[in-house]
């Protein structure tokens, strides 16, 4: 006796159809782009957080004065800083360190000693406790050559840029989700329409809606799973390569996923399969409801 079916007979109730493979391809592309968009969004969020958090506690005091009055002004400024509530630490940035900071812009051949560079003092402060206007006023009185810079001028547009980048990335992710859902809906509806005679036969032998829906959902979700896996693996590989390759100092390391980012990116796979399953079930059920 020939066995009429194996455990996966339900996968063979309908003949192979192109739409199921197309869903796999669309899932692969969507998840591939989705992983990249999510990685970018998470990285942008991290950057915005760093710029508005960690860097916000660091400020710089620049002392512009003639060679003979730099030292007294610096001493006066340090006294002011140390007696200001909220200032946690102060440190004079040595000339060698200053030169190293400028080297990427001016190159190593330039005689930096010949330039009229200000004396730099790094200030670490608690933003909540620091009264910036009062500090600036005191510095103006006791060390008129000192200029306090808490980096707000360059941090604000960077934070805004990072936040907008994050918004764009998450919007792209949302659009990809909608695109995948629409593709699956069209594929499932179209496949149901082209298999009306098969559905009629299934009805004839007593198939309930749930059985017919299962015939479709299994096929579509399995292909979506294969496609998503391909997309996730491809995107993660691209991310790893992009973040490791690059000339010194100019790599995309900042975009590299960190910690729980990996989990969030990997979760796109089951999310894509679940979305395909739900959309297929809804599309087929809606079609079956319209039969009578």
């Amino acid at each position: 006796m020939v066995r009429p079916w194996g455990s996966a007979f339900v996968d063979r109730v309908l003949p192979p159809f192109a739409a199921a493979y197309l869903v796999g391809v669309v899932a692969a592309v969507s998840v591939f782009l989705g992983v990249l968009a999510l990685a970018l969004g998470l990285a942008a969020g991290r950057m915005a957080e760093t710029w508005s958090g960690e860097l916000a506690s660091v400020a710089t005091l620049q002392v512009y004065a003639s060679a003979d009055s730099v030292e007294p002004q610096a001493i006066a400024a340090l006294d002011v800083l140390r007696s200001t509530p909220g200032v946690q630490s102060v440190r004079i940035i040595e000339a060698a360190e200053q030169h190293a900071m400028l080297e990427p812009w001016f190159g190593s051949g330039l005689a930096l000693d010949a330039l009229p560079l200000p004396l730099l003092i790094e200030v670490e402060a608690d933003r909540d406790l620091l009264d910036k206007p009062a500090l600036v006023e005191r510095l103006a009185g006791e060390a008129p050559g000192a200029a306090f810079d808490d980096h707000t001028a360059w941090r604000a547009p960077l934070i805004e840029t990072a936040e907008r980048l994050q918004l764009v990335a998450f919007t792209a992710l949302g659009l990809l989700t909608a695109l995948l859902a629409m593709s699956v809906w069209l594929a499932a509806s179209g496949t149901r329409m082209t298999h009306l005679s098969a559905i009629s036969i299934l009805r004839q032998v007593g198939a309930r809606d749930s059985y017919i829906v299962r015939v479709f959902t299994r096929k579509f979700s399995r292909n979506a799973a294969i496609g998503s896996l391909t997309g996730v693996v491809g995107a993660l590989a691209i991310l790893m390569i992009l973040t490791k390759v690059g000339t010194e100092g100019y790599s995309l390391a900042a975009v590299a996923p960190k910690g729980s980012d990996w989990l969030a990116l990997a979760l796109l796979l089951p999310a894509c399969v679940a979305l395909s399953w739900i959309v297929t079930a809804l599309a087929v059920r809606r079609g079956l409801s319209a039969e009578l």
């Binding site: 006796m1 020939v2 009429p4 004839q204």
Partner: protein
């Protein structure tokens, strides 16, 4: 078992059945006869629960099927086997897979029914055709495969729509024999046909009841011993 109570059915404004009041008794062999367009197929579809009357009522096994209740109709298929006029199969599956399809749909393991399946295939004389695809079957073989698929769940009622049309006399008699044997097993058989010779042939071998449909009305009901 199946009772028509002043049942009417119309397709839009076109009336097909009018005020049909009939009872199909359990265990009986019924023929529904009438010319083409008399409403035989509609009558059978009402019996199967595929259609609901536009007026009156049809009680199937004591209950009425609500309109649009697809799952209730699906549940009826365990007790009502249907052999449609056009025997359709899933052409990419083998004959055996097609015949055993109701078992899968109902979640029954074919291995548990292996003996029944073997006996069924021998009964319809398709034991040596199980592996072929349906398109390789002859007309008579397709009818027998459709009968096997309709009875595999051992339903109480078997409805067949023109089961011998387009078959030669010998094959028609062979198909009729299958239905007579089913009836002798205690099944209620309802056959819609316009072939009165088939009715005569059946009446010569078993007690049958005929219901004549003329222009949508059940005008003649008689028992033939």
């Amino acid at each position: 078992m199946i009772a028509f109570e002043q049942a009417c059915f119309s397709f839009g404004s076109l009336p097909v059945l009018r005020d049909v009041t009939q009872t199909l008794d359990p265990g009986a062999f019924h023929f529904v006869t009438g010319p083409s367009g008399a409403g035989k197929t509609t009558f059978l579809r009402l019996c199967a629960g595929d259609l609901v009357p536009t007026a009156g009522a049809v009680r199937i096994l004591g209950r009425t099927v609500a309109p649009q209740d697809r799952n209730a109709v699906a549940d009826l298929r365990k007790t009502i086997g249907v052999v449609p006029q056009q025997c359709q199969f899933l052409d990419h599956l083998s004959v055996l897979e097609n015949i055993a399809l109701p078992l899968h749909v109902w979640g029954i393991d074919a291995a548990d029914r292996a003996d029944d399946l073997t006996a069924l295939l021998e009964w319809v004389d398709l034991a040596d055709r199980v592996s072929v695809l349906p398109r390789a079957l002859s007309g008579g073989e397709r009818q027998r495969a459709a009968i096997a698929r309709a009875v595999i769940l051992s339903p109480e009622i078997i409805l067949a729509d023109e089961p011998t049309s387009n078959l030669d006399e010998g094959m028609a008699e062979r198909i009729l024999t299958l239905f007579i044997e089913l009836n002798r097993m205690g099944k209620t058989v309802v056959i819609a046909t316009q072939d009165l010779d088939l009715v005569g042939l059946a009446a010569a071998r078993a007690p049958v009841r005929t219901l004549g449909l003329v222009q949508g009305r059940a005008e003649v009901a008689q028992a033939v011993a």
